[in-house]
């Protein structure tokens, strides 16, 4: 693909009214949707009216006066960006008078702009330069000797982009992008007239300001005033490839803009249906880890984990892996080994890993990181609705009237979707936040939650049931919907259950800590406020009752008829880029791709015929069960692709003990991660930039991942799995991931219409995509649930066994922060550390004062499971009695603290509730941290002998 800039039509598409108007532009008669600007209409027919302050990312502004046109029968020269087409309108975009006017405007701009084009970073990619050419500017009559804004100091504080005020033309595109697209309102135009200038926050430098580095301002800038450092360093790109981000479950698509094999920048793709041309600091800028010096590029093996690594050839590493797994099976039995698929890898790679295990290992001991995040979503939504996925596409939020966010912090975890949600909230939709913390959504510029229910961690089910109590006892439910779409008898049983007085908001207040009047008001708003949509995250699932809460949420949606159309629904915000896909691909030990149980004879037979082996009808081990079996001596070998269970899974002691008890741990990853400290074979992985495949995002959208450079390690991950499979005697012969997708489509009813040519044609497809829905399914359960009748499930509140008491009086809850991602393996190896160099413990001022803790003090954090030390941050974002930290840094090892308690149905860990004590510390690392650091240091040694 050669480099072409995306067409900018100048103004966004008009809101669809279904009406069109006929207009003549430069003699060409066309029909355009009502409300379309003249500028956009001209662009759509191939014209290009000069412009500077207009871009189709943001609403028109009408300030630069370059886009003037003549309209027959009208006086003056209207701005084409702010003037909509009208029936019978005759427009001329290029006349002698217009040329004069535009040159005059451009002269003024250029008279206050540096003329260093040849050495400017944006040379060749500058709209000002381009427009000066378009209007035929040949001279600046005013000269360059007068007062100017040139020579101002650059702000280079942001690690990813520079701000040069001298090159700013004050078009406000950056300010409007920050407001309209991102919704942060970090930028403003300071002063007036000639003194006007763009200012982050109150005249601060970008890095220290409220700017979240989403890149929207840089993308919007028509000059080099805001420009990526990488473009300044490398130069402009010469080709681009559309691909999908490898961070969170939003699944933003980007143009990877390249010069040769060097990635110059990632620019959000306007046509991307998940992100609609927007991005966050991670996807836009934090991709430097792909070339980080820590990447391991040669395979390595060792006999035991106390030895240094020895670099070997791929042949030796693969042969050793196969031979070890076969040896272990011969000695300990077929079920003594298993594997973990990665939610960071592609669907095709994930499918191959579970195939390797089922077909090659001969068991179902396969699990995935969804075990520790959204496995309760799979269970809960499949029980109630009949399918394990969210019900809507992201666009749906723009039709919502009431948005209920529970246990999710989208501005940090799913920032690009959060920006869409905030757009809708600014349009007037109401917001209910159910969260122990006062997250940014509760109150931020031009956003304020109607109700914030700051519940005590661990009481989600009690709060959801209390909301149901209000809806049922006040008869706010949608009887017609329930009678038509759900099982009426089950509804009545459920209604009787929730109606009991012990489940009222007043009765549960002592448990939940939620004001009953506020809860009642929130329930009424959700039930009666129009289209009600629920969005939830790991604050729902990572509890001992995660599955119950998911079902309680589904009950609420069914009871109020908020399912089966745009603007409503139940929407799990998935954590990792391909966690939906990893689940879809059969990564769980009890089911094949498409969520079909391994005991189902018809399904198993289909796979057996295709794969040519007999498959086990028995469910395999989940990750925590594998670790238990390892410490018991019955599980001896593990293949881990792209996961770091030692850092991400709960109770690090337990994970370490399990891994240490195994005879062969194979880690396939980019870096020597924490799990690799206990590995015997290391197979270097490839980044998303180095391979082809697909990811499936939180809205079930399957999107292409495209290779933009050769794998630095020599192989894409799917090729490495194939090498292992062949060494184990399987006759795999895929030559491209598209063939793997063809196999997935042939074996999975919801994917039968998913092929690479269709994905290339459509940009993306949302499953189910099959004969019944050839173009995919943006909204699920229209007209009927996948399971037939929607099922109301009684969800009793069962308190967690993790109790506070005199020794551990506080509740720890964990989460993530915008600039870091998951265990930080990627983001810690980028300049994102500028924003979050370490995990901090958030503690309420009252709890801090009681312990003599001041801002920034070292504190020890201790639970029944373990102890660590970190710095304290005193904030009222957390309630008294609750503390919070992130888990992005291995030095902190937050999961040393978390316990083995899990969700009752899925074994998803209870990360969100751990009883702890916090005390002042001298900063000395805990005994665990010291031992761990020493073990890690020894384990990461690599012998210096050259590989063959």
């Amino acid at each position: 693909m050669t480099f072409t800039r995306e067409t900018d039509h100048g103004t966004p598409a008009a809101i669809n009214t279904g009406k069109t108007v006929n207009v003549t532009i430069d003699g060409q008669s066309v029909s355009m949707p009502e409300g379309t600007s003249i500028m956009r209409a001209a662009s759509l027919i191939g014209g290009s009216i000069p412009k500077l302050c207009a871009t189709d990312h943001v609403k028109s502004f009408g300030s630069c006066r370059l886009c003037l046109v003549e309209v027959e029968g009208r006086n003056g020269f209207p701005a084409s960006c702010t003037t909509p087409v009208a029936e019978g309108m005759v427009v001329r975009t290029q006349t002698e008078r217009l040329k004069q006017l535009r040159r005059g405007v451009m002269e003024l701009y250029i008279s206050d702009h540096p003329l260093d084009c040849l050495t400017c970073g944006a040379n060749g990619d500058c709209e000002l330069q381009e427009q000066a050419g378009a209007v035929g500017l040949r001279d600046v009559r005013y000269g360059y000797d007068g007062a100017t804004n040139m020579g101002q100091a650059k702000d280079q504080s942001n690690p990813y982009f520079d701000f040069d005020p001298s090159k700013c033309i004050v078009c406000s595109r950056c300010v409007r992008a920050c407001e309209d697209v991102q919704g942060t309102f970090a930028l403003t135009i300071e002063n007036k007239g000639f003194e006007s200038k763009v200012s982050p926050s109150q005249g601060e430098a970008f890095l220290g300001s409220e700017c979240v580095s989403c890149g929207a301002c840089v993308q919007a800038c028509p000059t080099a005033s805001l420009i990526e450092k990488k473009v300044v360093e490398v130069g402009t790109p010469d080709r681009s490839v559309v691909t999908t981000c490898a961070y969170c479950g939003v699944g933003c698509t980007f143009r990877a803009e390249m010069r040769g094999e060097e990635l110059v920048r990632m620019v959000p793709w306007k046509e991307g249906k998940a992100n609609r041309g927007h991005s966050c600091v991670k996807g836009r800028f934090a991709w430097g880890y792909a070339q980080h010096q820590d990447r391991i590029l040669n395979p390595m093996i060792r006999e035991s984990v106390d030895q240094p690594w020895r670099e070997v050839s791929w042949e030796e590493a693969i042969a050793h892996t196969a031979s070890e797994f076969r040896r272990i099976q011969a000695k300990y039995g077929v079920r003594s080994i298993g594997g973990i698929t990665s939610s960071r890898c592609t669907n095709e790679e994930t499918f191959l890993v579970q195939k390797l295990i089922r077909q090659g290992f001969g068991n179902n001991n396969v699990d995935t990181c969804a075990r520790v995040c959204h496995s309760p979503t799979g269970y809960g939504l499949s029980q109630t609705f009949g399918t394990s996925a969210g019900t809507q596409d992201f666009d749906s939020v723009m039709q919502s009237d009431v948005i209920l966010v529970i246990g999710a912090n989208p501005t940090d975890g799913h920032p690009v979707f959060a920006s869409r949600m905030k757009q809708r909230l600014r349009q007037g939709a109401k917001l209910i936040v159910v969260d122990p913390r006062r997250t940014d959504l509760v109150k931020s510029p031009r956003i304020e939650a109607e109700h914030h229910l700051p519940l005590r961690p661990g009481t989600n089910v009690a709060v959801m049931t209390a909301m149901a109590h209000v809806i049922v006892t006040e008869k706010l439910y949608d009887e017609a919907f329930i009678r038509e779409r759900c099982d009426w008898d089950e509804f009545q049983d459920w209604a009787d259950f929730v109606s009991e007085s012990s489940r009222s908001p007043e009765a549960v207040e002592p448990l939940t800590g939620v004001n009953p009047q506020e809860l009642r008001a929130a329930a009424r708003l959700y039930a009666t406020g129009g289209n009600g949509a629920i969005y939830y995250g790991l604050g729902v699932t990572e509890h001992s009752q995660g599955s119950s809460t998911v079902m309680a949420i589904a009950n609420l949606a069914m009871a109020t008829g908020n399912i089966g159309r745009e603007g409503v629904g139940v929407n799990p915000l998935r954590g990792q880029n391909n966690v939906q896909g990893a689940c879809d691909m059969g990564s769980f030990p009890h089911e094949f791709s498409g969520y079909r149980h391994v005991s189902d004879d018809a399904t198993r037979s289909l796979f057996e015929k295709t794969w040519g082996v007999e498959l086990s009808a028995e469910p395999g081990l989940r990750i925590p069960n594998m670790l238990d079996a390892a410490t018991d001596g019955t599980f001896k070998g593990l293949f881990v692709q792209g996961e770091d269970i030692l850092q991400s899974d709960p109770n690090t002691h337990h994970v370490a003990a399990g891994l240490a008890a195994m005879e062969c741990v194979v880690v396939q990853d980019l870096f020597l991660n924490e799990t690799a400290n206990y590995a015997h074979v290391f197979l270097p992985g490839s980044t998303f930039l180095e391979k082809d495949g697909t990811f499936t995002n939180a809205e079930r959208r399957i999107q292409r991942v495209r290779k933009v450079m050769a794998p630095l390690n020599g192989y894409a991950d799917w090729e490495i799995v194939q090498l292992v499979a062949r060494a184990m005697g399987l006759n795999w012969d895929y030559t491209h991931p598209s063939q793997i997708m063809d196999e997935i489509a042939a074996l999975t009813p919801t994917f039968t219409g998913v092929h690479y040519d269709r994905l290339d044609e459509e940009g993306s497809l949302q499953w189910p995509a099959n004969d019944a829905a050839p173009d995919g399914t943006p909204t699920m359960h229209i007209g009927g649930f996948v399971r037939g009748k929607g099922k109301f499930v009684v969800t009793d509140y069962v308190p967690t066994d993790e109790k506070t008491g005199p020794r551990f009086p506080l509740l720890l809850t964990t989460g993530r922060i915008l600039s870091q991602y998951n265990v930080g393996a990627q983001t810690r190896r980028t300049d994102n550390t500028a924003w979050h160099p370490e995990d901090l413990l958030e503690i309420h001022p009252l709890d801090a004062e009681n312990r003599g803790i001041k801002e920034g003090d070292w504190v020890s954090l201790k639970s029944r499971a373990g102890e660590t030390t970190l710095h304290a941050h005193i904030t009222e974002r957390v309630a008294p009695g609750v503390v919070y930290t992130t888990f992005h840094h291995p030095d902190t090892q937050a999961n040393v603290i978390t316990t083995d308690f899990t969700d009752w149905a899925t074994n998803c860990p209870e990360y969100k509730v751990t009883a702890v004590q916090v005390n002042l510390s001298n900063g000395r690392p805990s005994d665990w941290q010291q031992d761990y650091n020493e073990q890690a240091r020894m384990s990461r040694r690599i012998e210096t002998e050259a590989a063959e």
């Binding site: 069960n625 009684v794 009793d796 029944r864 316990t899 308690f901």
Partner: protein, 78 residues
Amino acid sequence: MSHDDSEIMSTGDRLIYMANQIAKNLAARGDEEAIGITADHIKAYWDPLMRSRVADLLAQRSDEFSPIAAEAVRRIHS
């Protein structure tokens, strides 16, 4: 069981805990339904070794099982 002092639960303790936890979360549906769903759940999601181990544990430590969990485990192996 209490976890006040445990760092890593033994596998046997964990299996009993898990069976009881499933039963406890289903108890509100009434004994018969709860027993049936608990049994189905264990059959559908537990590896065969875990299932046979929990049956052995029931024989040895029945007093640690809730009535619903105990009956569900018996039903799986009947």
